[in-house]
Symmetry: C2
């Protein structure tokens, strides 16, 4: 099941404020979805996710298929009870992950043959298998099985080597394969009587006319929601922004739109303006583990020696439990219940687990709160003004 209501739209952009009702709960859009690859958002307790207002999280079909394996998840009647997260979950199809295996996999019309990176077992993933796995996972939103068209073809990936930028012919063939897989995904999803919602994925590489072809064919399938895939795969930022400007707003207005694997705070805000409702990215948690923290006034490297004595929290305007403590009163509001930059700097230097724990809480809260501010601005009809302030604040420097 899936219901999507548009609550407000921005006259000056494609931005929309919406409400998405899924089998395990309601999601306010635009929304950021924390990534929980193996059934856990890295370094964060489910309770903390709830506290910071996460309404939907991701799981990775490919990873969960390999570990813990379907028969374990089946014992728990799906992913929700297994990982103790009782709000909505979206799962990807595994397509992006098998694509990432590079030389270790072989793609045919039927599907993808590959060796398990865990134990070397020969495995086969196809639209049908992906739907079967996602049905066992019982995610609120399942994604069609697709081929992620790479930006760079052949050896060396984007690092150079003997490859080349994907040609139009290659992108077309890949996009057409993804479309055939979309139809097979839909047929299998229906055959399995999966009660959740299946999203299609627009491909087409960096070619706008291919994106349009993909989109139009997917719209004919009348799926409950659509994603834009194959961006943020190594292409220059301008190309990504070009596809973002082209595709999302052309998708059906009354259905939710999901931009996969994007991006920085600036990318998200641009994505909203381009008409996107849903985002996911590993950046907040991955950067947290590397000591890069997002703040209203720009990004902050906590390892930097200038934080050694600093009594301020990561972001003085932030109300997360790392910056503001349990009562949520930010430093700017006079709250002194949070952890200082000096303390986080110390934890990071000592390799203490509490450093990534607090940093992950903060970065995820930053992303979730950014979307909260976006939603409030859309509701108040002040999105354009809010964007200017956001850009000015972020470039001020921390």
């Amino acid at each position: 099941m899936l219901q999507f209501e548009r609550l407000a739209t921005d006259p000056a952009s494609h931005a929309r404020r919406g409400r998405l009702t899924l089998r395990h709960g309601v999601v306010q859009t635009p929304i950021f979805m924390p990534v929980g690859t193996y059934g856990t958002v890295k370094g964060v307790l489910p309770q903390s996710l709830q506290q910071m207002g996460a309404e939907i999280i991701l799981g990775n079909t490919f990873h969960l298929w390999l570990r813990p394996g379907l028969e374990v998840v089946q014992t728990f009647g799906g992913l929700h009870r297994f990982e103790n997260w009782h709000a909505p979950i979206l799962t990807d199809s595994g397509g992006f992950q098998v694509w990432s295996l590079g030389a270790m996999r072989k793609i045919s019309e039927q599907g993808v043959q590959f060796a398990s990176p865990v134990n070397g077992d020969k495995l086969f993933l196809s639209p049908e298998v992906s739907m079967q796995i996602q049905t066992v996972l019982d995610s609120d939103i399942a994604m069609q099985f697709d081929e992620c068209t790479p930006y760079w073809q052949g050896e060396g990936a984007t690092q150079g080597g003997s490859g080349h930028v994907t040609s139009e012919a290659e992108a077309r063939a890949s996009m057409a394969l993804s479309l055939r897989w979309a139809r097979r995904s839909k047929a299998e999803f229906e055959r399995l009587q999966n009660p959740n919602a299946l999203f299609g994925i627009v491909q087409g590489g960096m070619f706008e006319h291919l994106r349009l072809e993909s989109l139009q064919a997917l719209v004919e399938l009348d799926l409950p929601g659509y994603a834009i895939g194959g961006v943020s795969v190594g292409e220059p930022k301008e190309l990504m922004r070009q596809i973002m400007a082209h595709t999302p707003h052309r998708l059906p207005a009354h259905k939710p739109r999901y931009l996969m694997g994007v991006g920085t705070p600036e990318d998200l805000v641009q994505g909203v303006a381009d008409g996107v409702d849903m985002f996911d990215c590993v950046m907040p948690t991955r950067n947290a583990r590397n000591g890069t923290l997002f703040t209203r006034y720009g990004d902050l490297k906590i390892r930097n020696a200038r934080h050694r004595h600093d009594p301020q929290p990561i972001d003085p305007s932030c109300s997360c439990s790392a910056c503001a403590g349990p009562d949520g009163l930010s430093w700017e509001q006079g709250g002194r219940g949070g952890f200082s930059r000096a303390y986080l700097h110390h934890l990071e230097r000592c390799g203490e687990m509490l450093a990534p724990m607090l940093a992950s809480i903060h970065n995820l809260h930053y992303y979730l709160n950014l979307m909260r501010e976006v939603r409030a601005a859309l509701e108040g009809g002040v999105f354009a003004a809010w964007r200017l302030r956001f850009a000015a604040d972020r470039s001020r420097g921390v």
Copy 2:
């Protein structure tokens, strides 16, 4: 400041139920104190520590002196505000840590010369320096600077090699040095007008008459509390138990008694019966990170394949947030809000941070709850019966 009241005593053992009032709060004894070496109990949010009922935690003088360094802690007016823990803190003296450096340090009457394991700087630790550091840390309980008499002397430590078991003459010389350092610690602590409480440490190796000499001389110093040091340093368990049976109950009855660095749940219960009020040990957090979990019915290795499908929490009788979820209703009470063994097994196999996070919460809660049960049994006058049940439960197997 320090106040200690005995609320109940056990007629059949040396066990006492007490209340310890320190500068930053009240501590119910017998108590277990989680270890926060670098100003963080590894893998646990201070908020979680509060939720599980921790009333006092440890910090390590040696480690905190090296990182973040005193001038940083001074900026925060002490350790409490720096690490965001506003209840009592006990700090050790650094003696045990410099002793652990082995060949890298040189002990003289004046103190210990050693090279910093962080950056190689030449450093000097003495009773006076230790008191100066602990005064800056502003811990509620400071420990005298002592020499931890090893069980094994010379190369190879307890692993054999060319060394030997500490002789009586060696133990006597070491104990006498610790006594002279106790007097210097007290003098410096008073000169600094440290408003907290200084504990003396009984040494004497595995020799009861040396322990008695040490104890009597320390009692003459009239310190507000006493610890038993130099146990759990590689000696056979029987020798440790022999010292536990000998020393604690001979210490002044109206002052708190602290057994340093001990031990297993069974050791703690025995320690209470021997008259000990305070315990610390890295075992709950270290074992958590290795996947060894304490339960009412024995210890559990979460990596074991038999947990792969198990829907039960770590300990069905446990009310910690890992076993019982946020509402604290245990599995046995019908609560189903906790995390399963199958999920923890999966997290552990995937190397996910959430595994040690949940395991640390559980293990610390187990230790803190064990002491809660001990206190209730002492209050109810049923400690002897409780011990029998504890031993039977623990040996039942999980």
